[in-house]
Structure formats: C-alpha cells, structure tokens
Symmetry: C2
Subunit: 341 residues, 2 copies
DNA sequence: TTGTTTTTCCAAAACGTTTTGGCTTTGCAA
DNA sequence: TTGCAAAGCCAAAACGTTTTGGAAAAACAA
C-alpha cells in the first residue's frame, strides 16, 4: 500500500510528470535515453498506475460487467463455471477487469445494478446472459448508449450484437435421431417460459417433430428451471398418466439427470423404455447411468467470443464482426438407444 | 452516458458543489430545506456519483477481488457457482463490487494479477480460495498490507483471518459410519497434493482410521483433481489389483461420481460390494445411482462469511470476529450401505 | 550568418469528487 | 448596544493521472 506515483518518479529523476507519463505511454516525443531511464526507475520503484486517476482522466474504466441471474446460480448451473472462465480469460486478454454481480431476473435489484453500472461509469460495457423474450435490459442499455453483447437475441426492436447461443437448430437433429431409434411420442422439459433459450429450443423441438412427421403433444411440454429438480418432478408426474411418452427431450443436462433419477426410482429403463436427451454436454453426462445423449455446447468459447465482440464494440472498431461460434456436436449415448441394456 | 455531475446540480440550484456534496453525504451542516432541494433535483436529474473520482479522492475502491484458479474452473467444479453467488450476494450487501479474475495456481499470470490488484489499487481487499500448503499469496498480501481472508489456513508464518473451510473433522465421522456398516479396507481419492483441503482431509482420513482401529493402506491413497475423471480413472486402476478396497472415500462429490461410473462399468455394485462417499453435498448427489453418501457443506454461507469478514477487516473494525461457520451434515445414502440393492 | 524544422521537454488544465478551513449570517445573552 | 455561539454555506486544495499547447534547444538549410 506504500504506493508510488508518477510524481515520485518525476521527482526522483528531475523530470516533469508530463514526460514520465508520456514515456510510460510510449509517445514518440521523449528521447530514448530518458525513456529508458524512466522505464527502469519505474520498474525499480514498483510503479503501477493508479486506476482511479487514470479512469477519471481517460473517461473509461477498462472493466466490463456480467450479471448472473441468481435463480441460475443457486441451482448450481454447470454452465456458470465455463461461462465465467471464458469471460475472465478473454477479459484478461484485452486487459480489462470483469465485475460480477448477481440478481434475480426482472427484480428491483437487477434494475438497480444496471443503473449503477451504467451511470456511475463502473464499466465500459456489459455482457448479457439469460436473455428474455422481451428484455428490458437491452432497451435500457441501448438508451444509455452503453455497449453490450448478448448470448442470444431478444425480441426487442433494437439492433445489437448477439451471439446465436441457443442452438435451436440442434433440436431437429435430436429428434431425427430419436425417430430413427423408433421413439415416437416425445415430451419436452424446458426452462422458464420467457427465456429466449426456452422459446427457441421449444420452437426447434416443434420444427423437428414436423420435419420428422411426428405428432406434437402440447400436454407433454413443460417448463422448468434448468436444474435436476424440474426433471425429477416432471417425470414423476409424467409417469402417472397414460399414455406415457416414450422419449423425453430436456433443455439441459441437469434436467435430464433428474429425469434419469426419476425413471430409475420407478424402475423404468432409460433408453430401452423411455429415451432421454440432455443439452449442454457437461462432463457428468459421460458418467450418468446410463450415459446421456446430449448436445455438446462450446460454452467456454462462446463466452470468450462474447467478450471479444464486446471489446470491438467498445473500442469502436469500424464494423463489428460477430465471430463464428463453433459448431455444437450431437453426442449419442445409451440414454437414447432403444437396444441399450 | 449523458452523465450528470455534482457540479450540474450545484449550478442548477445556485449552490456550491461543496454544499451539494455534503448534503448528499448527509453531513449535518446543511439546512433541511436545501438538503431536500438537493436530494430532489439529484434524483430528478438522475445523478449517480462517478466512481473513479470518488475512489481517487477517498483512496478506496469499494471493490474486492477473487481469483479463480483456472484448473478449478475448467473441470466444472460445482462449488464455483455457490461460491460466486455467495461472494456476489454478500458483496452487494456491503455495497462493494466483486472483481473476478482467473489464473492457474502458482503461475506467472497469477502473480501478475495479484500485483496489479494490490498496487494499482483496484480493490480494497481479496478473498483467497484454494489455499496451498505454502501459499505465496498470503505472504505477498501480508507484505503489501492488503487486507485478505482465506477459505482455509495455510502453513505460512503469518497471522491472518481464515475460515475453517476444509472440514477435516468430518472425515472421522464418515469412517465411523463406514466401519459401522462393516467396511474395513478403505481407499482415499484426494485432490492436488499441495492444497490444504487435500492435506487436511487426508489427515482427517488417517485420524478416522486410527480412531476406528482400521488399518491404513498407503497404496490406497491417491491424489486427484476434484473432478469425475480422477475418480473414474483411479477406480479402474484400483479394480485391477487384489485385494481390492471395500470402500472408497472421495474428496469431492464429482470424484465420487467418477468412481460410481467406473464401478457400474465394471459391474461392481456400489454400496453392497464397494462403499463410496463424496464430499460437498452437490444437488446431483441426490440423483446419482445409487444416491451418494456425502457431507453437505454450506459453501454459499461460507462464501458470504468470507466477504463479511473481509469487510470488517477493511473497515477496521476493532476486532475481527470470524463468524461461526454452519455445521456440515453427513448425509447417508445408499452408496455406503452394504445392505443396499 | 539567419531562418526553419525537429527534437525534447514542460506548465497548467482537466477529469469529478471529498475535505479543510474558513466566512457570513442569524439568534441569543448580557 | 456588544459579544458570542451556532447554523449554513463556500472557495480552494487535493487525489494521480492524461492531454493541450507551447517553449527551449538542437539540428539543419539557406
């Protein structure tokens, strides 16, 4: 905390603080000899620029924000680790800090956080996760002229950079696979009904059914919470009624784990009796019983790209190139194979 | 981004910026009438104090830092979600920001991050996770006089506030339970060998054996990575040799899941043939096959308490009270019951 | 030589707060 | 009336940078 400022270096070398500042910033109007002297003593004295002063003067913060939705976090969402690693890693690449907050979706806290983030100039930009169909955050940030990038696109009438992170086009592939295995009566367990992920993936589910000439049963479509509990409880319900579905398509791996557990408890064979698929490609999907058919989503990459895009918006690159998102992969395991043990 | 400053308010009301500042900060030397006027126009004009300016002047940042260890994150550690929610929630309570970075343990990046954090005055304090036996970070932060709190205590000769988050005393209880079930030959799959969690829990394991008059087999003790893969691979190894252990104690639930999967693959009945226990109490432990005996750790609470403690250090409370950490609970499920199906 | 350009440096202002050390004005007591 | 205290307000300095707009010195050109 014994902090050395640019002024100390200047005094120490009998130079002006202007020259020291400019030397450190690499301006050409300081001779090589003095530049070297300055760099050396700076290093030697352990100089690190004071962020607050720099921010105040430069009028930017070199920080970006990410607000976890707490429902999200509390349920131990496995994506959170990958997401944060990606965000933090890429932020480091660009030399900016990552400020993480947490709030329930559409809560007062959430709105307070976003107001503070933008108006008190805490961050240069924001990453938006868990996009809702109508998302007040995009309108707000747009109005505030605060740069942002989203993991998916909402329905708001605002043009903004968004990754296509819902991967709804993978659902038809899942369904084609299920049909080829002989499953016919498909259920769907989704997320909260206003999340874009849920809406898009449900849409993909319907399209998949249609493309495969399978019937759509509205009574077999459920909302959930991305967590195991939704899968577990919904499945218990589902098993009570006849006719049963013969396959359950889940919006997340976690949900699918809950389904598997319920089936096991009710002595229904996952795979041979009822097919189950997840979405996400968590490490545990390899180790479940039976191993889970899922879509392997490159969340870590996605997060990195979100930050990369945001930085190009902030730094006012001429055109924002939204980087290609790596293709997800359908991983077929025993949970969706009728001939499985 | 059209930002309104304290000066705007002053001009608008024909007052000095001093008065406005003092009114907003609640000083007594401003009349009630003007205070109200100021508060009203401030709200009306949407004033939010500029953080950088405030930090610069007040010489504190109202932010705390947390550095994820990336090996940690990449393996999809389930504790990360709870930890971060706890940190972020409690940070919000105290009105401070949480800055999250990521770096591999003992790497150059890690040292660069900590240097920047402390010297450029980005944060008022730091939370330390994944404590190592000899942890350079505690010496460093101590030398820099940067406040910090750790989730567990290292061996360094420095006095600092640390929670007792390794809960090694729960291991004897696990072992007593295992013994009472009739298991005798116990294996242990841990974490990285220099982490305090690993060391303490292994110690607890040994003590538990001794207390229960069970033999300690060094060849049955393994390091790992807290993730499923370690459990899976170690178990495959373990099953090749005779005599086998009849129970496997794991340092984390994830590790235990890997163990369960390996056992299933090799047609060994978890529970009746080989007992398995985890540590952590993840939601999935309820849903595994068989359900996993584990120790339910209040990670979220622990994280909150870490922040609370840190804030009391920062705010220079006379004495630092390290809050009581809620008691973990041993949850016994079928994975460690011999009579189980 | 004089004039011109280039190189190298710097004083001062600015960013938006907080804080110090007052200065007026008012009210009250003597 | 004077003296004094309290209440209410403010100018200016400070925090540590960056940036503007030169100025002095050196190098070069004529």
């Amino acid at each position: 905390m014994k902090t050395v400022s640019i002024r100390d270096i200047a005094r120490h070398l009998n130079l002006s603080i202007t020259t020291v500042s400019r030397a450190l910033d690499g301006y050409p109007d300081v001779s090589n000899r003095t530049r070297v002297r300055i760099l050396e003593t700076a290093a030697e004295m352990g100089y690190v620029p004071n962020q607050a002063a720099r921010q105040l003067r430069r009028r930017k913060t070199d920080a970006i924000g990410y607000v976890l939705s707490s429902s999200h976090a509390r349920f131990n969402d496995p994506t959170i680790a990958d997401t944060l690693s990606g965000l933090a890693d890429e932020a480091a690449v660009h030399g900016v800090d990552l400020i993480v907050s947490i709030a329930p979706p559409d809560s007062d806290q959430e709105s307070a956080i976003f107001k503070r983030l933008s108006r008190s100039q805490k961050v240069d930009g924001v990453i938006l996760g868990r996009i809702r169909k109508e998302d007040w955050r995009v309108q707000f940030l747009h109005d505030e002229a605060m740069p942002f990038v989203a993991f998916a696109r909402s329905n708001d009438a605002v043009d903004y950079p968004a990754l296509e992170g819902s991967y709804e086009y993978m659902l038809p592939r899942i369904i084609t696979h299920l049909k080829s295995e002989g499953y016919q009566r498909l259920a769907f367990i989704g997320g909260d009904s206003d999340s874009v992920f849920h809406i898009n993936r449900l849409e993909g589910f319907k399209e998949g059914l249609e493309a495969n000439q399978l019937a759509y049963y509205p009574e077999l479509v459920f909302t959930g919470n991305y967590a195991s509990s939704a899968g577990y409880e919904t499945t218990l319900q589902l098993l009570k009624n006849q006719p049963r579905p013969d396959a359950i398509v889940c919006i997340s791996d976690e949900t699918a784990f809950g389904v598997l557990h319920a089936l096991r408890e009710k002595k229904v064979k996952a795979g041979s009796e009822i097919g189950v698929t997840g979405f996400g490609g968590t490490a545990e999907s390899t180790y479940s019983d039976p191993p889970l058919t899922t879509v392997d989503i490159p969340i870590y990459q996605l997060a990195r790209q979100a930050v990369a895009t945001l930085m190009s918006v902030i730094r006012k690159k001429k055109e924002i190139v939204i980087p290609e998102v790596p293709e997800p992969v359908l991983v077929i395991r025993q949970s969706s194979i009728i001939g499985a043990t």
